[in-house]
């Protein structure tokens, strides 16, 4: 347990030392999405009755920021350590696999949630947003960041170079978040694309999170949370199995 604490503390310090790049920059980027999309589409689109597009957009953007930053934290920490060789500092100690995994995921969650809160604060002067179900919001934010933190650990275990990691990020994580209904309700899609979206775990995180604010969503929040927990369970199981085998970490 003390091993977990030290490793988690190290990981937290690692990103907070460069918070300009790891927290403020993503907040600004997300803010730009809001300004541009809301400006272009505000008068033309309405996804939910009684909810302006600008307001509709914010929860999705907050969740996207949480997810992308949670992923970035664990994955880049592991890959950077592999490349610089200082990964030995965390491979030599007697961490249990669970301890190791949880420390990286925990720090990822903190980074994701910090950016999420940052986006909420930054957007508050631009949109008036009320939270209908705060506990649901918290549940989705926490579980969603945990899923992406775990996916980041998986990517970090697998990737041996930065370009492999950015391939993973650009061809898996970014498309999956963009196509998960951040910018639209999947009810506005053709039936085929609607079904495809339902196979995307990211969709349930966004949709569930949006439900917490508006009390309306494309699918029921209980369905979403079950889907998110299933994703979390699957990814954690795979990551722990790979750590146990020493796959690519202890070749």
């Amino acid at each position: 347990m003390s091993g977990f604490r030290a490793l988690a503390r190290k990981e937290l310090l690692r990103f907070s030392r460069v918070s300009m790049q790891t927290v403020f920059a993503p907040v600004v980027t997300t803010l730009l999405y809001l300004v541009v999309f809301a400006h272009v589409l505000e008068s033309r689109v309405q996804m939910y009755p009684g909810v302006s597009y600008r307001v509709f957009l914010v929860p999705g953007l907050v969740m996207m920021a949480i997810l992308q930053n949670a992923f970035a934290n664990s994955s880049s920490s592991l890959v950077q350590s592999k490349m610089t060789g200082n990964i030995v500092f965390v491979l030599l100690p007697p961490f249990s696999h669970v301890e190791f995994f949880c420390a990286y995921v925990f720090a990822s969650m903190v980074r994701g949630l910090t950016v999420g809160v940052g986006v909420l604060i930054a957007t508050s002067p631009l949109v008036e947003l009320n939270v209908a179900h705060p506990l649901w919001a918290l549940a989705f934010a926490i579980c969603g960041s945990a899923v992406l933190g775990s996916l980041g650990v998986l990517a970090g275990i697998w990737a041996e170079k930065i370009d492999q990691l950015s391939a993973f990020q650009n061809f898996v994580v970014v498309p999956a978040t963009f196509l998960s209904g951040v910018f639209y309700s999947i009810n506005s899609l053709s039936p085929v694309w609607r079904d495809v979206s339902l196979a995307n775990p990211f969709f349930f995180m966004i949709d569930g999170f949006r439900y917490s604010f508006f009390g309306q969503s494309d699918v029921a929040p209980t369905t979403s949370i079950v889907a998110v927990l299933a994703a979390l369970f699957t990814l954690s199981a795979i990551a722990l199995m790979l750590l146990h085998k020493g796959y690519r970490m202890r070749p």
Partner: protein
Amino acid sequence: MSANSPVGPQSALNASPAIEVRGLAKRFGKLQALDHIDLTIERGEFFGLLGPNGAGKTTLISIIAGLTRADAGVAKVMGHDVIADYRAARRALGVVPQELVFDPFFTVRETLEFQAGYFGAKNSRAWIDEVIESLDLGDKANTNMRALSGGMKRRVLVGQALVHKPPVIVLDEPTAGVDVGLRMTLWKFIRRLNDDGHTIVLTTHYLEEAESLCGRIAMMNRGRIVALDRTDALIKRHHSLNLRVRLIGASLPAALRSRCVASVDDTHTFPLDRFEEVESTLASLRAANCRLLEMELLQPDLEEIFVEIMRTDAMQHAKGAQ
């Protein structure tokens, strides 16, 4: 042994050696980096692992440290299997890696504190202070790792291996790139740890260093152990002495010329098996009217033995390949 001895009261495992390796094999593609190695290092030893570049020393250490998985064989640290019982094995082991690695986000003290935390070391503050002092890093304690010179980074690596006071300490070329002054301080520190009961395993390419420090030495070549003995026995194993003389007067008599292994101008070297042969050799020289201008008795050193063992091994390998 004192109450806080690193070995500790582990009655069931008391008999187990510090490091035990059986049939260890590792292949990288076509290259057999380790070829079924057996090795036992007892508790309290100061052990040297020598060998040319690519011999497999680091690979062996990596397997013992759990950084790499062996293809076959078992490795144990203080009786704990490095795979099945990896947590106990790693707790018992401190490793100074060969590569000069560091985490650029942190200062020297943070680096050491984190490492202590990873091992669950409690109340490590005083010990960390002592490590910093002993490694002469006092004035750099709050400096970022990036801003240290190579030799200083190496010292921090040594410190990181010691923060949890492991009973077994493995140093993979700890003195590469370290200046003479610090080398002495470092060895004094490591010796003290050895006196306190820590087992030390060391690889180095400075053979005089190994000769003066290590009680026992294994020489590796192409993934195998080609010599393993007490350091003094290893040195005595071949011939024991060289007598070097510089002469004036008559030239070397034929009887002596055949025993001479090296003649440069009027300086000649005779290998001797025993010390008593010095007298008889000098007597023969006198009888031949040679006058002695200078005389030197050369003890064989590890370097000579090393070169000889590697040459023999290469010859055997060549024969085997035919």
